[in-house]
């Protein structure tokens, strides 16, 4: 049982690769992604995907990590979200099991 934080990022699906690269640079122990069927609405209007291209889709990235890593992640992904939109929220969690 460990007190950690959960970082949740929702942004343009096309940016997931860049986000993953950034997470690997930060050196997190792991992450989870919901890469399809994440639609939504925000400042850039409705994002419900385009069947022919991979545009207008969102993805959800979730990382369980410690405070220090969290701050690194936030700084790393800020330009991506600033440019391509989305949100990054952080909340407290307790890690009960991790292999």
């Amino acid at each position: 049982m460990k007190k950690l934080v959960k970082v949740e990022i929702i942004t343009d699906a096309l940016e997931v690769e860049s986000i993953i690269k950034l997470l690997d640079e930060v050196g997190v122990s792991g992450y989870s992604i919901i890469s399809r069927d994440v639609t939504g609405k925000g400042k850039r209007g409705i994002r419900s995907g385009d069947k022919l291209t991979e545009l207008f889709k969102n993805s959800y990235v979730m990382v369980v990590c410690n405070e220090v890593e969290m701050h690194k992640i936030v700084e790393a992904v800020r330009p991506v979200i600033k440019k391509f939109g989305g949100v990054c929220i952080v909340s407290d969690v307790i890690l009960r099991i991790h292999r």
Binding site: L22, E54, L55, V80
Partner: protein, 337 residues
């Protein structure tokens, strides 16, 4: 003009085109008719595989002669000229990034428009050379590169807002020509159609006998199904055009027309057959709503996809498959007389 009108009407009465209308109608009256994404992918992959393979087999028969070389050269030339001149027209009204992206969109091609034109010709028992498929494959990519080159050249001359943002984003993603070239020449549709073309070229008649029922017999049915889907998509995108202003919608009709005319003149000079002339005109007149938008979003992130996708998909594509194709053919039949 009478002939022209008949041509248009006849074209509109072909099942594939009628299914396109059905899709549009379904979308306009907010029906819940939906075609799941994997099926759209099935139809588009199938069309690319089938026309690529068919073209390759045809090319295997005819071989590569003088006419083929000239046609492909002309195709290459047009895929450089079109994005270049449209860019400067667009730059009068739009910022560098959107001008470049739209120019690339119109410099590239639409495979579905191409096959609809083939169907149109077949209904009049007019031949078109298999090497026109090679022209199709050749014309898909160059416009992407031209567009990006133009954008970068002109963006850096005047330090506009986008450039700064571009630098900021540069922090986490470096611009790389390697990535651009990969996007341009190795994207799924280019690779599948050229690959299938080469496979057709290699396996020739024997291969054709193997795959004909799949690549030819059910082809028009698959096309109809896909056009039903395209109708649904095109109608959905029309609403996005509100943000496009008064300049772009007319642009999306006049550019194809103008490019078709240039193409027809070139075709005449090269002494192409009417069938090939039409295919060439259609290639130049069509705009890309699959490969290019994807490439632009990645290479020119400052361009706005909700401008160029609706233009190509909701205006230029419907215009070409309904009025454009027969109209271009009418001009050709007048001119070739």
């Amino acid at each position: 003009m009478g002939i022209d009108f008949n041509l248009i009407v006849n074209n509109l009465l072909h099942p594939p085109v009628l299914f396109f209308f059905l899709g549009m109608i379904a979308s306009f009256c907010k029906s819940d008719l939906k075609i799941p994404e994997p099926l759209s992918k099935l139809f588009s992959l199938y069309l690319l595989l089938a026309i690529g393979f068919h073209g390759g087999v045809e090319l295997h028969k005819t071989g590569i002669n003088r006419e083929v070389v000239f046609t492909l050269a002309a195709a290459m030339a047009m895929s450089v000229i079109v994005p270049a001149y449209t860019f400067f027209i667009l730059k009068l009204k739009l910022d560098v990034y959107n001008a470049a992206a739209i120019a690339a969109t119109y410099g590239s091609i639409s495979a579905v428009t191409f096959v609809t034109a083939i169907t149109f010709l077949q209904s009049m028992d007019i031949e078109s050379g298999g090497y026109m498929v090679a022209a199709l494959a050749l014309m898909e990519s160059p416009a992407i590169v031209i567009g990006i080159v133009l954008a970068r050249v002109f963006a850096h001359t005047k330090g506009n807002k986008e450039t700064r943002e571009n630098n900021e984003i540069g922090e986490y993603r470096e611009f790389s020509w390697a990535a651009v070239m990969k996007e341009a020449f190795l994207n799924g549709s280019v690779l599948l159609i050229s690959g299938s073309l080469i496979i057709g070229l290699i396996s020739g008649e024997e291969g054709w006998d193997m795959l004909k029922p799949f690549t030819k017999d059910i082809f028009k049915g698959m096309l109809s199904f896909f056009l039903l889907d395209m109708g649904l998509l095109a109608a959905k995108r029309i609403s996005d055009l509100r943000s496009a202003g008064f300049f772009l919608p007319p642009f999306a009709v006049l550019t194809p027309l103008f490019n078709a005319c240039i193409a027809i003149v070139i075709a005449k000079c090269l002494g192409m057959q009417p069938g090939n002339a039409l295919m060439f005109a259609v290639l130049c007149a069509s705009a890309s709503y699959i490969a290019v938008p994807a490439a632009m979003r990645l290479s020119l992130p400052d361009a706005n996809p909700s401008l160029f996708i609706p233009m190509a998909l909701a205006i230029t594509f419907p215009f070409n498959i309904t009025v454009g194709i027969p109209l271009y053919f009418y001009l050709i039949s007048l001119y070739w007389k």
